[in-house]
């Protein structure tokens, strides 16, 4: 599973970086940088929660990296 962001929807609210400090960093404009590696099993529940919390619905957890 890989965490992806739709950069057109994302508004740089930064909730994802607050909820997933292990995975997501913000660039200098406040937009998130997604991890390159697939999401580990243990973090999956946390990632799903973050996907739900994104105020712009810009995040998705996808089966395979495209």
């Amino acid at each position: 599973m890989k965490l992806r962001v739709n950069p057109i929807l994302c508004d740089g609210y930064g909730h994802c970086a607050e909820l997933l400090p292990e995975l997501v960093e913000l660039d200098e404009w406040g937009y998130p940088i997604m991890p390159r590696e697939p999401v580990s099993r243990s973090l999956e529940p946390a990632v799903r929660h973050a996907v739900k919390m994104c105020p712009r619905l810009a995040l998705s957890l996808e089966k395979r990296a495209r």
């Binding site: 740089g12 609210y13 930064g14 607050e18 406040g30 919390m53 712009r56 619905l57």
Partner: protein, 188 residues
């Protein structure tokens, strides 16, 4: 529905109405704070949004109690149609209809929020704006219907709710002037 002539129902209806107004106010304030991307060192942004969502759920529960008790109470004499549709009523004038209209708008806001993943962000957001119409209607309904008008605590609550909304709106609008304010940035 069979009418119940029990003072507890009557008090429950009034009490849950006031609680709903307070919770609805808090939800709107938290919603505005979310769009302003409010946060402090101790209070990350997801807390605002998380509270916005969970308190709105709580408000819906109290609103449900308020409507159910209004329907059940034999003294209030509210029909199902009056509770759901903005109809004028002989007993309450327009005030009851305002509550019903507020409910209808709120229902649209809630349903679209529950189905948010199935629609475009733009549709969801336009419907979500209806909350700004729903709150004043709920407020007018609470104050205007006037069961507790004479009570000082009730007026104080009303003034506090309206004041809180007004202050939050001003705070939000001030932020519009500066599209890249400090609270947004991460690095310098």
């Amino acid at each position: 529905m069979r009418s119940l002539n029990n003072p507890i129902i009557w008090y429950l209806m009034r009490g849950s109405g006031v609680v709903t107004l307070i919770l609805f106010t808090v939800v709107v304030v938290l919603g505005i704070a979310t769009t302003r991307r409010f946060r402090t060192a101790r209070l990350p942004r997801f807390v605002t949004l998380g509270l916005h969502r969970s308190i709105s759920l709580l408000a819906v529960v109290f609103l449900g109690i308020h409507i159910a008790t209004a329907l059940a109470d034999s003294y209030a004499k509210v029909s199902l149609a009056q509770a759901l549709l903005p109809l004028p009523s002989a007993k309450y004038g327009l005030w009851l209809g305002m509550g019903a209209l507020s409910l209808d708008l709120l229902a649209a806001v809630i349903v679209t929020s529950l189905l948010r993943h199935r629609m475009s962000q733009r549709v969801w957001k336009s419907v979500h704006w209806l909350a700004y119409a729903s709150w004043p209607l709920a407020f007018a309904h609470s104050v205007g219907i006037g069961t507790d008008k004479a009570a000082g605590w009730f007026l104080d609550t009303g003034v506090a709710c309206a004041g809180l909304i007004a202050v939050t709106l001003v705070w939000r609008l001030l932020a519009l002037r500066n599209p890249y304010p400090k609270y947004l940035g991460t690095a310098s």
